[in-house]
Symmetry: C2
Subunit: 364 residues, 2 copies
């Protein structure tokens, strides 16, 4: 499937490059401005009630076993939609991968560094139950906990058109749908690059323009294309979750492999045990990349400059000089969009009761 | 000092009770409605710039050593201004006391369960450096980190009237002042009880009215009085931080001591090593108490009902029947105020750089 994409993309790129080289437009969807509206899949349509409920759940630490960690702790929406640490760490556990940003996540075609989830709903479910993350263990445990909170019983019934007094509105699929619906609203439109693509040629600096040309000429665009510069976005031409992933490091053995431990985690192979998936990874998006340091799946690279040097060498066997690094970084910084204002939700209370006392002790 | 307060309070109470028993007013400051405006100490006046900066710092996980924990993780402003866990836990460490709420904290006269801080500024400084909490270790380490963030250099210079290009605006005292200034804005006015105190006799139920009378008759009010029902508030009659604390358990040896491990932590004595301070604790405020389960310094009591039973017996040698418990809880729930809407701040970025990569590994 990856190869099929690559062939299509080659055709796209050829068509698109001939357009851009004539100095005309960016009409082709290899490069396109971020749509102001996120994508929603057909089986989880967006509603205001569902989004508001999802926001509560996203900020509610009671969705973790010991009541301490909300989604927002690692996917911090006051910052890059990720955390500042190298790799995720919840409670006593340390994950082996860096938390990816949630900004513009509706335009991703696959989820997790190893592309093991095909929808945001699947990703949310997995993270809530995973013993290394929110650690709820079973869907029943989570559903039972939320059913004790009157405000959630009402909100789920409202968002999913169930009878308030009836049971069943709070279910694992509905929890995941609400969280995913909220996450899909996290769009950052109107970056300088978007304005540039739409025709404002002064929206980005000359250095950034050189950087974009270099990004294209060197071959970065062959993987980092589309709305999020992360390969195909879900849409008519691609079923959501069909996935898109590439080899990293493409050229094993560079000086960076050891320096940043780039080759010890072999990526998607660990999910599929398919030999062809060794060192395969989801292509990460590049929007707001200046906000999401540190970089790479293991978060071992602190600066964007260094990340650019590494990618040039490991993927394309190219050494960038400092001016080239500066130019590409200048381009990448034009991908920072307008972060929406988010009002902290009010979490529904259990009114004079903690659901956590026993769990807190158990989770020590 | 505690005894001196108690004598004054006895006089106050006598005067106030004679007023209330005549069914007149609550004019006396033993009981008073929550002022809409918080108190600010003379050496840290409130300004919009300082409050906004403090809000950024409050929500910024980079103020903890591994860049993972903001103040808001344990003092969750989407909920009760505290966490749901029994006791605080940051990173690998587990604290031995429950995180207190920050709502209406400007009206407290002392800070920490053991009253060891005399101002919010002192409390913030202590928590940022404490190896069990934010674990920054030294003020220099924190100042050095924040000085690497251009947005903070500007914001501190603006909030503290320093020259932007000059050094020194980011200092431990200024960090603490900004955080404290934000925390003081966290007021929850206009509770049902406040409306009742102001004269709306239908603002609280008959059960709550009976509960309040019982709360008063039984003697709860002798410690839980004033704006926050936590003893003297800072003000003209009391220097900020003079402190107010009381004995708990007042009557050792009740059936609850063992059940909830109430007597193993001997409170303020551990700070002062003064024999008179054994089992002395800051009197916790009661506003929004229905939002701050679990209860007591060790957070071992899950429900407000049980907390009321425990207090009646351990403090006043009184057994409440279920109706009395219900009434007092009904009264306590009238103390829930209007929680202000809070917009998530945007945290200033380091633009393509992480300050955490090394620290994250070190903090494992």
């Amino acid at each position: 499937m990856t190869n099929a994409y690559r062939q299509n993309i080659s055709i796209f790129l050829t068509a698109w490059l001939s357009l851009t080289l004539c100095g005309t437009t960016f009409a082709f969807d290899v490069i396109q401005a971020l749509p102001a509206q996120p994508l929603f899949p057909g089986d989880n349509p967006s509603t205001a009630a569902k989004i508001e409920l999802g926001k509560q759940l996203f900020f509610d630490p009671r969705l973790s076993i010991d009541g301490r960690f909300s989604c927002n702790v690692c996917h911090n929406l006051a910052a890059g939609g990720d955390d500042d640490g190298a790799v995720g760490r919840i409670s006593q556990q340390r994950l082996n991968r860096s938390a990816p940003t949630l900004w513009n996540v509706s335009h991703m075609s696959t989820y997790y560094w190893d592309a093991r989830a095909r929808s945001l709903e699947e990703q949310a479910t997995d993270h809530l139950l995973d013993p290394r993350v929110m650690a709820m263990g079973t869907a029943d445990a989570l559903v039972q906990r939320l059913n004790q909170i009157a405000g959630y019983r009402q909100a789920f019934a409202g968002a999913f058109n169930e009878n308030v007094s009836g049971k069943g509105a709070i279910s694992m699929p509905n929890i995941a749908k609400a969280i995913a619906a909220f996450e899909r609203t996290l769009v950052t439109p109107n970056s300088a690059f978007d304005r540039y693509v739409k025709g404002d040629k002064k929206a980005i600096s000359e250095s950034a323009q050189r950087g974009f040309k270099l990004f294209d000429d060197t071959g970065c665009l062959s993987c980092h294309f589309g709305v999020n510069f992360a390969g195909p976005a879900p849409g008519p031409a691609l079923n959501m979750g069909d996935g898109f992933y590439e080899l990293f490091p493409n050229h094993l053995g560079s000086r960076y492999d050891e320096k940043y431990d780039l080759a010890s985690d072999i990526g998607r192979y660990q999910v599929t045990l398919d030999e062809r998936h060794k060192y395969m990874w989801r292509v990460p998006g590049l929007r707001n990349i200046e906000l999401t340091a540190p970089y790479f799946h293991n978060g071992k690279v602190a600066s964007l400059d260094e990340a650019v040097r590494i990618m040039a060498l490991t993927q394309l066997k190219t050494e960038f000089n400092q001016q080239q690094v500066n130019d590409v970084v200048a381009f990448l910084k034009t991908l920072t969009g307008e972060i929406p204002s988010i009002t902290l939700p009010r979490l529904p209370e259990t009114e004079g009761l903690s659901l956590m006392v026993g769990n807190d002790s158990a989770a020590k």
